[in-house]
Amino acid sequence: MGNIAIRTVNLGKLFYLNQKKRGKLRETLEEKIRLSLKHLFTALSPDAKKNEKKHPFANKHIWALKNVSFEVKHGEAVGILGHNGAGKSVLLKILSQVTKPTEGYAEIHGRVGAMLEVGTGFHPELTGRENIYLSGAILGMTRREIKTKFDEIVEFSEIGDLLDMPIKYYSSGMQGRLAFAVAVHLEPEILLIDEVLAIEDISFKEKCLSKLKEIVREGRTVLFVSHNMDSLKTLCNRAILLERGKIVFDGDIKKAISKYLSGNPDAKL
């Protein structure tokens, strides 16, 4: 099968919650005292047993991902759905090699570009021009690639005359536009996109969406994490629904969305 872009097999990621607190040694001690006090209180309360079970740190570890297996073909655009803490971001972090899985493995055919958080690597003291180069290189572009795309990026970001001002003087909206403009000009075959459309400016948001659509139309592979159902629907045909680190649905985007909306745990509370 030559047309597989991403294949994951039983991917799992374990996080230790009670792990000795990193950082200063004294914090480790403080943490211990605090936790034992907490345990004391939970033990004293009338429904102690219940509390113990519900206590999020009662388990020593948590599988942020467990037995996640799926395949994505070249040219597919797949949405990743799930509530906070379902494991969406961890999945993208594993696929972009920021963090390692605890078990299982993944194969990736092609270069990966990740837009995990817009503006990563921006430095406030540097100008917009300088930050385009810096952020582009951090996202995996060579200086030559950035140079050839420079004008396009500037035009897309609509920052105009501010290009040679330190970006600490930019509004947060402008910083977001510049960051998105850099990220969207990445060239790799596979793009991992995490919640980058959290942009307030509506007209710019439209522009970003249509740029992303263009990327999908070019036949590139896209994994797209978003809480925005409309943008998911316009970009993807397929979605993977994660719940507590496991895949609970993989298929048609509309079914996935309705399943996601019906299974809202917040509604139960």
């Binding site: 030559g2 972090k93 690597g121």
Partner: protein, 290 residues
């Protein structure tokens, strides 16, 4: 879209595009150094160095002059207290240039060590979001200091002219000792940077460490104050070898004590290679722990 790859011709095109295959699997103990990968990311290394140089003296009053002031002020203090008051002998060369010659590599070393030790923490937001060989971070921290080093070296050449010191052929060994001070800073920096990710105690230990280290290094005094039989042990501090080498290369006076120099070179080599492997071994956990 998928149908793009259905005909043999298209499959062929696909194959000659030669998409790289990346395998992602759980960490498996000791990892290869993958120095070739560093080369592929050289643009990023360059940009990190360039960023740190640009940013370093932003919003300071005297700016790049700090590169001159740091060793010069230290030189003044040493000359006053050790040269004039304690009357430490600097041999046939005047004490100020004797001290300044040592302060050039020493100041570089302390700055490079401090920056590389803190580098992973300073870049934590990038580490948790983007993948690239993490070794680039401490390496760029050590490389950034080279600009200050070069500026301080220019002043040193100026002082040589001022004091009428005529260079000897030993000057040709200067690049070697420059490289050695870089390797020492990186060697220690790699270990401390990794430990700093888990234990922020390093941040507090560093200032002490460098202060004590200064006394264990022949900056304010010549290394021949140390009895001959102790010189090998003294040389276990690689900066002793570096500073002695620098003095010899610039001032052309005492050649370094060979056993001391060999001890220093051995320690640097072991630390650097060990540090590289230790770093690679721990690299996979940075994003989860930092």
């Amino acid at each position: 879209m998928v149908s793009k790859l259905n005909t043999p011709g298209q499959r062929y095109m696909y194959r000659i595009r030669n998409l790289p295959l990346t395998l992602i699997h759980p960490p498996k103990g000791l990892a290869p150094l993958e120095l070739g990968k560093l080369w592929r990311y050289r643009d990023l290394l360059y940009l990190f160095v360039w960023r740190d140089i640009k940013v370093r003296y932003k919003q300071t009053f005297v700016g790049t002059a700090w590169a001159l002031l740091q060793p010069l002020i230290a030189c003044l203090v040493l000359t006053l207290f050790f040269g004039k008051l304690a009357r430490i002998s600097s041999g046939e060369v005047p004490y100020p240039i004797f001290a300044y010659t040592a302060l050039v590599p020493w100041t570089y070393f302390v700055n490079a060590l401090t920056h590389s030790s803190n580098s992973l923490i300073f870049n934590s937001t990038i580490i948790t979001r983007v993948y690239f060989p993490r070794l680039i971070i401490p390496i760029s921290a050590v490389a950034t200091g080279l600009l200050d080093f070069a500026i301080a070296l220019l002043i040193l050449f100026g002082l040589m002219v001022f004091y009428g010191i005529i260079p000897t052929p030993a000057l040709l060994t200067l690049p070697f000792f420059m490289l050695m001070s870089l390797a020492t800073a990186l060697g220690f920096g790699l270990w401390l940077a990794v430990l700093n990710v888990e234990y922020r105690d390093i941040k507090f230990i560093l200032p002490f460490l460098t202060q004590i280290w200064l006394f264990a290094t022949p900056v304010a005094y010549p290394s021949n104050l140390v009895p001959e039989k102790w010189r090998i042990i003294y040389g276990l501090n690689p900066m002793a070898g570096v500073v002695d080498g620098f003095r010899w290369a610039i001032l052309g006076t005492n050649p370094p004590h060979i056993p001391l120099l060999i001890a220093s070179i051995t320690v640097v080599t072991i630390l650097l290679i060990g540090g590289l492997f230790f770093f690679r071994y721990k690299e996979d956990t940075f994003a989860d722990v930092v």
